[in-house]
């Protein structure tokens, strides 16, 4: 009996899968994204409503490049969307993207936030900021200070192997060289209040819980927590912290990007470009700012008031592609000092 029942279920699965794979004849585009569905969905919905183009998505955690590469020439992927400049560059390096020339894109995205040949475009910016316990009254901070003995046992941060931190370490290398970065990492490691694990929001929660005084995390989480989108509990976490925009001693605040590329074998290239152009439009950039609390890439769209309240963002001038190049070294340095142990 069990077998028959299961066989019947299996037949259903086949029907469901085939029908979902076949799709309709209307304009479609296939989006492969490592961005969480909840963050991109509002943008997809708006695009679908205004153009009638159906957007099919698959949300991947890791292995975006591997998946597209092994699908090869028949890959249905049109647009590849991900966070972290290193991952965007990786897609280009593996030959999975194609260049796009579009006045709308070039006009909206500043040159330092896109690939010179049009292989990828940044869609939003996020700053790696300092969360500090309110009582400390901190107003300014340099990333270099994270290693200062003053903060011994008081710092919270996620794994150094997370792309956000790897990019921060890579920026440090770009500013100070590998040797100094190693010393800095050792100092920071010695200052940790707990294991380098978990996510960025836990930095706020751990500060509220008295585990640490300061920590490094991304800017938009503050908006997600403070706005109440994460529920009343997280609002309390956000209330426990003050955000400071740190800078490098000889530079600005470290930023990273979320971005997208057109897949090399995109079957719906025109639709994908249209979606990309929509994503850098004023409307979509407002959504990035207001729904996701990211910094828009367009100069003519303002960040959300919660984010704007951090003060003026002075972006570090190190080119993103240079940071991407130091990614590997940053990851190895973190292992050398046993940062996550």
């Amino acid at each position: 009996m069990l077998f028959f029942r299961t066989a019947r279920k299996l037949a259903w699965v086949a029907v469901v899968l085939v029908s979902s794979a076949a799709g309709g004849a209307a304009a479609e585009l296939n989006l492969y994204t490592t961005r969480e569905p909840g963050l991109v969905q509002p943008l997809i919905d708006a695009f679908q409503a205004s153009t009638g183009t159906k957007v099919n998505t698959i949300f991947l955690k890791d292995g975006l490049a591997e998946r597209v590469a092994s699908e090869g020439i028949n890959s249905p992927a049109d647009m590849l969307m991900t966070v972290d400049v290193g991952r965007l560059v990786e897609l280009v390096d593996k030959g999975l993207t194609q260049p796009v020339r579009s006045p709308a894109l070039d006009g909206a995205v500043p040159p330092q936030l896109r690939d010179p040949e049009g292989h990828w475009f940044a869609l939003s910016l996020r700053a790696r900021v300092l969360y500090a316990a309110k009582g400390l009254g901190l107003t300014r901070f340099a990333y270099e200070e994270l290693a200062s003995p003053k903060w011994k046992g008081k710092v919270c941060i996620r794994s150094a192997q997370h792309p956000y931190n790897t990019a921060l370490i890579a920026s440090f290398i770009a500013h100070h060289g590998a040797d100094e970065t190693k010393t800095w990492l050792e100092g920071l490691k010695a200052n940790l209040a707990r294991k380098a694990a978990g996510g960025d929001r836990e930095v706020a929660r751990d500060i509220m819980g008295g585990i640490c005084d300061i920590g490094i995390a991304n800017s938009y989480y503050v908006g997600l927590m403070a706005s109440g989108k994460g529920g009343p509990e997280q609002q309390a976490w956000a209330k426990a912290i003050k955000v400071v925009l740190p800078t490098f001693e000889n530079g600005g605040t470290q930023v990273n990007v979320s971005g997208a590329a057109i897949a090399k074998n995109a079957p719906n290239r025109a639709q994908a470009i249209a979606f990309l152009e929509y994503l850098v439009s004023k409307d979509a950039q407002k959504t990035y700012a207001e729904a996701n609390f990211e910094y828009p890439v367009r100069a003519d769209v303002a960040p959300d008031p919660i984010i704007a309240a951090f003060g003026e963002l002075k972006v570090d001038p190190t080119p993103l592609t240079k940071i991407a190049r130091f990614r590997m070294e940053a990851s190895r340095l973190a292992e050398q000092v046993g940062f996550d142990n």
């Binding site: 299996l10 794979a21 969480e36 092994s70 249905p76 694990a197 585990i211 996550d340």
Partner: protein, 566 residues
């Protein structure tokens, strides 16, 4: 039939009956070929890994040996030792308590002790971090009780530690040991324990000197399942900040884009796994318990006094409380708060249906292949059958992400070949047949949980006396017909319990599902992950609760199977 389903769950079988070749079954070529095909399929992802590993340089190794491996290996060893011994202790202890003694709540506990199986380890980690955090309910209450104002004045040690990780994994994974060991205590040990009691041994002595040694093979099977789950866990240990070898593979692949390097580490990781498998085989070497066609006698539990009874109740409830009640109640509570706050999100029903469908397909696939491997061992024993049995472990022994990558590359190559053939031969464009249809995902489930399937079928079959094979053959039935008409009906409870375990495991599976699913296809686990990755655990709690609820049903059936014959 009153056979014990759960006893059959495991990497192999607890009872080794006489050699079937001697009962007059001629080796069947068909079964050999089929077993060889399954062996090849099971080995394919590993072979893919070898190809990937050879593709890269070995330049990574000096760095790994100097800075990563010693620490990761030590951590992994410590974690395995800790979880292995604690889970064994909890599993055997509770199994003995509910089998040998009569005390209040025993009837409920006998099945409730299986419930933690429904909680994925990563969900338990999320839940406990929330519950035990300084700003969480437990510590807030403690501060209130002790009169402290803020967490800066008083807080408990952080759960994000090796100790925390060992405790957490042990309390969620011990049911594997409980299941196998209890079935052994219930049936095989009864006669001998009674004999030892007649000879004047106390209950305690009967446990340590008779029951425990007798149950050694069952414990070995249960513990090795626990250890494999621990070894390939990435969610909980990464979340709690434990740098295991698996986490290192992950960092090498994801953060340094070095897939070849990651494949190299993954292959090295297979060495301790092979050791584990060998240890498990060694643990149950030369154990033969003649399975008779008669119904086994049950152990008669001894009533406990009031104080002792309460103590037993407290002891046996603790694992259920820690491994199931607390995380499940926490999920229910936060899911409730979320529904009140934001309502139910759309598509949850479709997602649940997706999850159940692909899990059922994966279960069916694993059972079918497991049946071939196990039956070949009976109908056509020999090198090929035993090789297939060993290789069927491969998918369970590597981390889920690694298996998924192996399947992705293998299936991707196949898909490209099919598309090329279709366009050259017929001029048709077929797209990606296997990845696009979800077949790749189901294949990954099948290979991942083949070990459980093979183990449970082997277990079910070996309880059937070979004399039945002979009788069926004498009457002119072929091996296929004997399988269908004699063996399958008799082995049904074992197959069912195996199917349930696989089904629940498929529901919880995350890495292969994320990497291999088709467009627009969500399961509860991917949804849970998507929300959790944003840090919106409250949204995730609804999906998590659904995973637990849908898993509960089969786990309840599994518990019933264990109760049969009381």
């Amino acid at each position: 039939m009153r056979l014990d389903g759960p006893v059959a769950v495991g990497l192999g079988d607890l009872d080794e009956v006489g050699d079937p070749t001697r009962s007059g079954i001629r080796p069947a070529l068909g079964w050999r070929v089929a077993a060889a095909a399954v062996a090849l399929l099971a080995a394919a992802p590993i072979l893919t890994l070898v190809v990937l590993a050879l593709d890269g340089s070995v330049g990574l190794w000096p760095h790994l040996v100097a800075h990563v491996l010693p620490r990761a290996a030590a951590n992994t060893a410590l974690l395995l030792a800790g979880v292995g011994s604690l889970a064994a202790g909890i599993g055997c202890g509770t199994a003995w308590l509910v089998t040998a003694y009569r005390f209040p709540g025993r009837g409920v506990l006998a099945w409730a002790l299986i419930l933690p199986l429904a909680i994925p380890t990563y969900i338990a980690a999320y839940a406990y971090l929330d519950v035990l955090h300084p700003v969480g309910p437990v510590q807030s209450w403690l501060r209130w009780l002790l009169g402290y104002q803020s967490a800066r004045e008083f807080r408990l040690p952080d759960i994000r530690s090796m100790t925390g990780c060992i405790l957490l994994l042990s309390f969620v994974l011990y049911p594997y040991v409980y299941l196998t060991t209890r079935a052994m205590f219930l049936t095989q040990a009864a006669t001998l324990i009674d004999a030892s009691r007649t000879l004047g041994a106390s209950y305690g002595a009967a446990f340590t000197r008779v029951a425990l040694p007798l149950a050694r093979p069952a414990i070995a099977v249960g513990v090795s399942l626990v250890l494999m789950e621990t070894l390939n866990d990435i969610g909980a240990s990464e979340f709690l900040g434990i740098q295991t070898l698996t986490v290192s593979i992950y960092a090498t692949w994801v953060n340094r884009s070095d897939l070849a390097g990651a494949a190299q580490i993954a292959l090295v990781l297979l060495v301790p796994v092979a050791g584990l498998v060998a240890a498990e085989r060694f643990g149950r070497r030369q154990r033969s318990f003649a399975a008779s066609a008669q119904r086994p006698r049950r152990l008669e539990p001894r009533p406990l006094g009031r104080t002792a009874g309460m103590l037993a109740l407290a002891l046996a409830s603790l694992p259920v409380l820690v491994g199931f009640v607390v995380p499940a109640a926490y999920l229910a509570w936060s899911a409730w708060a979320r529904i009140a706050f934001a309502g139910l999100s759309q598509g949850l029903l479709a997602t649940t249906w997706n999850t159940v469908s692909v899990s059922a397909a994966g279960t069916l696939g694993a059972l079918a292949l497991g049946l071939i491997v196990a039956y070949a061992g009976r109908a056509a024993p020999g090198r090929i059958a035993s090789l297939a049995a060993r290789l069927s472990l491969a998918g369970y022994a590597v981390p889920g992400t690694v298996l998924a990558i192996g399947v992705l590359y293998g299936v991707g190559a196949l898909d490209r070949a099919v598309a090329w053939a279709a366009s050259t031969l017929a001029g048709a464009s077929v797209g990606l047949v296997l990845i696009g249809s979800g077949a790749a995902m189901v294949l990954a489930y099948t290979l991942r949980f083949l070990a459980i399937a093979t183990g449970s079928v082997e277990g079910g079959l070996s309880r059937i006396p070979p004399s039945l094979d002979g009788a069926a053959r004498t009457m002119g039935a072929g091996t296929l017909r004997t399988l269908y008409a004699v063996h399958l009906p008799l082995a049904k409870p074992a197959l069912a319990s195996g199917a349930i375990l696989i089904f629940v495991d498929c529901m919880k599976e995350l890495p292969a599902t994320l990497l291999l699913r088709p467009l627009n296809f969500e399961t509860l686990a991917t949804r849970l992950y998507g929300e959790a990755a944003r840090g919106t655990y409250e949204d995730a709690s609804i999906a998590a609760l659904l995973i637990v609820l849908v898993s509960l049903l089969p786990v309840a059936v599994l518990a019933r199977l264990g109760q049969d014959g009381r």
